[in-house]
């Protein structure tokens, strides 16, 4: 099994490298098309003389042809130099490092909550033993998917501050980021309100119904064997891992809105601020990091699926 998973990881790693190259080309193309001087990404143009700017332009390889410029840009990026933020003047890589782990935690926990909600609802619906609960949860899922996540955030803040007194109204300090309520409320809001709950539930429900009709499940039932033991691989692990990989971009996008609502010092808020100030080095870094996170989820999915189902290895 380890060998199969290893081979799958290598294959996906190569594909990711190719995709990364293409993504950076697309990014570079966008950047090249955008109005404004790319030198401004690296130095403060206003404080330098024209001569100095010309030197910097040459040093950065920005005076060459398009492939040369792309090569120089890619070379700097691979070494971790994503330029400096136009807003704070600090290196983009450090800003991403500072905020990225929080957003990863928020997104990951929210994604798990979404999958948990969907798994429970789909299981109840497919087993047809508690139809009222199943119908109720499905309806709740639909309503949650339609409600805008920012309003859900307002409601959560209102309820938490008015009835439970757990959340300070303005939570901009870094110190507050450690407390549990500060973490929990956004996770619940993003996990239930990211707009994918109903779709994930529906997908999982259809899949589970199909698996429950398989002969081996009928045999297991007839034998009186544990249904769960025969169901979990094909019924849950496979679809949940692919849903995780497919929906992570949506949840990451939702994190931008949720962090804005809760004033949460993560990558989403960084993105919002960067977009407001047209701070494109930061946005470029965020885009690349987000693409890496999405690809990492994809690789994880491939590894899990190959581990569960050897037929997928080739």
């Amino acid at each position: 099994m380890l060998k199969r998973v290893g081979a799958a990881l290598v294959r996906e790693g190569i594909r990711t490298a190719v995709l990364f190259l293409l993504v950076t080309m697309a990014m570079f193309g966008l950047l090249d098309m955008a109005p404004g001087d790319p030198v401004a990404l690296y130095v403060n143009v206003q404080s330098l003389s024209p001569d100095e700017i010309r030197t910097v332009r040459h040093e950065l390889g920005l005076d060459g042809s398009l492939p040369v410029r792309y090569g120089a840009w890619l070379g700097r990026m691979v070494r971790g130099d994503l330029g400096t933020s136009l807003r704070t003047g600090r290196p983009v890589a450090r800003e991403l490092w500072r905020t990225g782990w929080r957003t990863l935690l928020l997104t990951g926990s929210a994604m798990l909550l979404t999958l948990l909600f969907a798994a429970v609802t789909a299981y109840l619906a497919a087993m047809q033993r508690h139809p009222v609960w199943a119908a109720g949860l499905t309806a709740v899922g639909y309503v949650l998917s339609g409600l805008p996540v920012f309003w859900l955030g307002y409601l959560a803040i209102y309820i938490a501050t008015t009835y439970f007194h757990v959340l300070p109204l303005t939570t901009s300090t870094e110190a507050a980021a450690g407390s549990w309520s500060f973490f929990l409320v956004p996770v619940v809001v993003l996990g239930l309100g990211n707009g994918t709950v109903s779709e994930v539930t529906r997908h999982l429900g259809t899949h589970l119904k199909g698996v429950l009709q398989e002969d081996y499940i009928r045999t297991a039932r007839a034998k009186g064997a544990s249904l769960w033991r025969h169901l979990y691989k094909d019924g849950f692990v496979m679809p949940l891992s692919s849903l995780l990989a497919n929906k992570i971009p949506y949840v990451l996008g939702g994190a931008i809105v949720v962090e804005q609502v809760f004033n949460w010092p993560g990558m989403g808020r960084l993105t919002w601020q960067a977009a407001s100030d047209r701070d494109y080095p930061t946005l470029l870094g965020v885009t690349l990091l987000a693409a890496l996170i999405v690809r990492a989820a994809h690789i994880l999915k491939e590894a899990v699926q190959v581990a569960v189902n050897p037929q997928l290895a080739d």
């Binding site: 594909r15 190719v18 995709l19 293409l22 993504v23 697309a26 990014m27 966008l30 950047l31 098309m33 955008a34 109005p35 639909y142 309503v143 998917s145 339609g146 409600l147 805008p148 996540v149 920012f150 309003w151 307002y154 803040i157 209102y158 501050t161 008015t162 109204l169 707009g195 109903s198 779709e199 529906r202 259809t206 992570i248 971009p249 949506y250 990451l252 996008g253 939702g254 931008i256 809105v257 804005q260 993105t271 919002w272 960067a274 977009a275 407001s276 047209r278 701070d279 494109y280 946005l283 470029l284 965020v286 885009t287 987000a290 693409a291 999405v294 690809r295 994809h298």
Partner: protein, 291 residues
């Protein structure tokens, strides 16, 4: 004899509709109703058939709850919320249609290429789609907003571009199945041109349901993205109303306990998105049942 023939013949559309499970009937009727309401609100807004002037302030009547004069109440400067909700459909209606058309056009193109000639196009198209999928939509859109400062039409054009992979994958899977059916092979063997087989026998006769589903889902998504962006302050700007910036404007009053101003547009978003989602799901369920 006549009666016997009637029962033996194909069920009529109405009879088929009657035989649907209740859930699907409700979803379809609700979804169609919502779509009709959105179109009606948009047309009223364009033709200026509004109950009140959406920009007229009335400082004697701020933060009012619904009454006979203002059916949905007023906002914090006394503007009529119902009229603003109706004008708010303008923010996503045409841009949303643009987004849906773009994703269907290119999604259809890639889906046909990869589904009809898999040996030639499946790998490059698959790679291209994976490339587009590996960038989170909202992040990409924010990057483009920062670089180009586009208006809402251009933004939703980009949203349409980011929706291509989903549309293409759905069509590709369907076409790959159709491609192996005997009647399509027969059509090819009979010497029909590929374009005729693709447009008539694949897309029109067996793919229009999927296209319609993709369009409903795409419209729901366009509403969510437009409202999210306007909420964040990058889409439609005040004083032009969008359901997203209306929620954002009510924020301070919301935390003070005056929940109404933010909640009205939020519920409008809920109903519209829910309607399009339910319609899409019901149509998809029907299609899966037939296949």
């Amino acid at each position: 004899m006549k009666r016997f023939l009637e029962t033996a013949s194909e069920p009529t559309a109405w009879q088929r509709f009657r035989s649907w499970p209740l859930r699907r009937t409700v979803a379809t009727v609700f979804g169609t109703g919502v779509a009709a309401c959105v179109v009606a609100a948009y047309l009223c807004s364009v033709l200026k058939l509004l109950p009140k002037d959406p920009d007229a302030m009335d400082l004697a009547m701020v933060n009012a709850l619904p009454d006979a004069a203002h059916l949905l109440g007023t906002d914090f400067v006394g503007r009529d919320l119902l009229s603003r909700i109706m004008v708010g459909t303008e923010a996503f209606f045409l841009p949303g249609l643009l987004s849906v058309s773009v994703s269907l056009l290119f999604g259809g193109l890639f889906g046909v290429l990869a589904g009809f000639w898999p040996e030639r196009f499946a790998t490059p198209v698959g790679l291209l789609l994976q490339l587009m999928e590996s960038l989170p939509k909202l992040v990409l859109i924010l990057l483009i907003i920062a670089l180009f400062r586009p208006d809402i039409y251009l933004i939703l054009l980009v949203v349409g571009l980011t929706n291509i992979p989903a549309a293409a994958e759905l069509l590709r899977a369907r076409i790959a199945v159709l491609r192996r059916k005997s009647y399509i092979e027969a059509a090819i063997a009979l010497g029909l041109s590929p374009s005729r087989v693709i447009f008539k026998h694949v897309l029109w006769l067996h793919g229009r349901g999927l296209v319609l589903i993709q369009a409903t889902i795409g419209m729901g998504e366009a509403i969510l993205i437009e409202t999210s962006l306007s909420y964040l302050g990058f889409g439609v700007q005040e004083p032009t109303p969008s359901w997203g910036n209306m929620v954002a404007l009510g924020k301070d009053y919301f935390f003070r306990g005056e929940l109404w101003i933010s909640t009205v547009p939020a519920i409008a978003i809920l109903i519209a998105v829910l309607g399009f989602h339910l319609l899409g799901d019901a149509l998809l369920e029907r299609l899966e049942e037939r296949a």
